[in-house]
Symmetry: C2
Subunit: 444 residues, 2 copies
């Protein structure tokens, strides 16, 4: 089955008008979420160190590093934006493949759009196609490929970046197949890197390498035209099993981005139902920490296994504490990156409240489910059963939720009025004459 | 077994004075051979297209592209020199692992040396260490890793480039371990790419990515410190079997570069014995094409299987013709890249002589063996039994052979007097105050 050619032809021939309205809308939502994550992560040490190391070798000031003042050549800008958008592990997830789809794709083409202007619709179209390509390729090798140790956001993401950049460069099917080949032969990234700066390096490098692949293919730099299916190509070399029907079936009819999901909270998905319930009770009853005697969480066993840390000492440990997470949910009504800062985990008010949190495993409860029972000082008990946590496919974040998340991320990075304009620009992507307005609007 | 740490400490602590004289000498020979290959390949379409695609994104003119006039930032220069040095498949081979060791390592550190001056001894030292690292890591996963489809020059080469660049940057053991991690998580390159421009892209990208890894590690960009041995690291993810003793045993005592080999002829190793015999008979008897009635080659079966093309029409096909190869060996006394040009395969004199060549399989003959019997017009028969072809470990190319190969490669790229000076500079590497003299001396 010549899936490389099938996919290349689809990318080359797809037209914007063929995209359903709701798919385009989800493209804009993914983009908004990605810009927020990139701006939010832009001041992280990981980005600082990468820029310190590589800026001396950057070309002309062609493209923005979102949330910062540096401008780099498009390849380095793609790398940096890919890093910053994933550094908080707060970006989007295609749940079927565990790919974080926007990072590799958007980082590549937003940089390219600053160098070679394209309209908003062209941009969204390329973005949706890039996500489609990486998720289909990922689905063809998932889970064997992931299980053996590949970080699929990097390994599949590079194809998505190449597809999207190739589309914007107007490559023909042969060139797109070459771009897939050049991208695929750079496919890399070990899960061993989780917990180090290299984790977010993966989507950054995927963006940069996929963009490089498209630029090379544009100059007729040749490659295999069968990188996906060849005996010594991607699927056979990098996965113990594969199913190519996942690449070709329903192409142009079903869209991966329609199944994209966004994290409302800056921590592992497993704590999200508990946080969700605490936030809802807080908002419904106007709860304050002082009103509360006890918080009981009935949760899936994985919650205690993965996030059972009772006394976190640094911000990162807070992400592995369901107790801390429930406490900040009550106090701040959110659990963004700021609520997992070093300061916040050492805040006496937070410490006091988290000592009142108990988590118990309840049999039969699903991973995206929780029951929260809050006992007030006046002995009243407030209960909330979260059947599907906010951010799940069944209960997606609303546009307003996404905006609130964006504001939380951009807080302290960009001035509030700039943040509001940037949110507006993202929503209006289909009306933009020049998609690079997003990048310029996100510069510090 | 914590082999990543062992290797990192070795690289950090190794001293130039610990290197045996003959190892340093082989370092100079490898370097000379590599510079010749890079200069020779520098005008190839593959390099032209890569430069056309990526030059717009290059940083300052920090480093030379050997054999050309362009100067690029060190990361792009490393890429281009890695491509050009492998594009003819004429570079060196570590036979035990099939790694072409110089490309990834020398390309990375020669570019770095132009940016951050180092002495000749420091340069040779780093070069030898880089080759050691890539060949030991390659040996630990060979042959399973190669057999499944990885192009080991790319996948192992990136570690060698990181080691050598890390040494020149003065990284400490922890930083070198991080550099290995950053390099390893970029390890990539499929054998599916053989026959396309992506094949030589692999050592180029390995050089560039390894150099990037060292620069990032210098800024304390963190990574796993166990990339080689971790359950989701290099050896386990990228190979069905591995033997870590190949990494640690005899470290500092035996040196991979001592087993490096160089190709005398610009074609597959399997035809080398036949060419060798023809060149020797030609030189011993002063043979001319007109003297010859018939050339009989008694060869290993693989010769006819792989190189049985009787009437090549383009240069590349000539490389797969033992008949063409024998004819040019007699006429020109060599079989370099020029003898595999389109013009040469269509030359009437070459065509006439190759029609007189017969190749027959002789049972029991080894792959590096051949018997050549030339029948002259006067009915005399001249015979030569090649037991080990020139370029094999048993019969290495002499320094003079390497120089002659260099001159053949550089012919038409650099002026003859510059070529002689450059050869001299390579031999004198240990006396250089500034190793970058090699790069400057190789600029067009």
């Amino acid at each position: 089955m010549d899936v490389t050619r099938v996919l290349a032809e689809y990318v080359a021939e797809s037209r914007f008008v063929d995209l359903p309205e709701e798919v385009r809308r989800e493209g804009a939502r993914s983009l908004l979420n990605w810009v927020g994550c990139a701006v939010g992560g832009s001041r992280h040490d990981t980005v600082d160190r990468a820029i310190a190391a590589l800026r001396p070798f950057s070309g002309a000031a062609q493209a923005s590093v979102l949330g910062r003042s540096e401008r780099l050549d498009i390849l380095h800008a793609a790398l940096m934006n890919g890093i910053s958008s994933h550094v908080f592990d707060f970006d989007d997830t295609h749940l079927q493949t565990l790919i974080h789809p926007s990072g590799p794709v958007a980082s590549a083409i937003l940089a390219l759009a600053e160098y070679r202007p394209v309209s908003g619709p062209e941009f969204v179209h390329a973005f949706i196609l890039g996500v489609e390509v990486e998720c289909r390729i990922g689905a063809a090798v998932f889970p064997a490929h992931y299980d053996v140790g590949w970080h699929i956001t990097g390994t599949a993401g590079v194809f998505g970046a190449a597809a999207a950049a190739g589309k914007l460069l107007g490559l023909d099917p042969q060139q797109i197949a070459w771009a897939f080949g050049i991208a695929g032969t750079q496919s890399s990234g070990f899960r061993e890197m989780f917990g180090t700066m290299c984790k977010s390096f993966h989507p950054g490098r995927a963006a940069q390498n996929g963009l490089t692949a498209a630029c090379l293919a544009q100059q007729n730099f040749t490659s295999s035209e069968r990188v996906l299916e060849a005996p010594r190509g991607f699927a056979q070399v990098m996965s113990a099993s594969h199913d190519f029907s996942r690449i070709a079936e329903g192409l142009g009819q079903s869209f991966a981005i329609a199944l994209n999901s966004y994290k409302p909270y800056a921590c592992g998905l497993v704590i999200h139902p508990a946080i969700d319930g605490c936030v809802q009770l807080r908002n419904e009853y106007g709860l304050k920490a002082a009103d509360i005697e006890r918080i009981e969480l009935r949760v899936h066993p994985l919650v205690l296994e993965l996030t059972g840390k009772t006394a976190p000492q640094v911000g990162l440990e807070g992400k592995f504490s369901v107790y801390h997470s429930a406490a900040v949910a009550i106090i701040y009504g959110r659990a963004g990156e700021h609520e997992y800062s070093d300061d916040c985990v050492l805040d006496p008010q937070v410490i006091a409240l988290r000592s009142k949190v108990e988590a118990v495993v309840q049999s039969g409860i699903r991973k995206d489910e929780a029951v929260i029972a809050i006992t007030l000082a006046d002995r009243r008990i407030l209960e909330k059963h979260i059947r599907h946590a906010i951010g799940s496919i069944e209960r997606p974040m609303s546009d307003a939720d996404l905006e609130a998340k964006f504001r939380g991320l951009a807080e302290g990075v960009l001035p509030p009025d700039q943040v509001e304009r940037l949110i507006e620009t993202c929503w209006n992507i289909e009306a933009l004459q020049d998609a690079a307005e997003i990048a310029r609007g996100a510069q510090a």
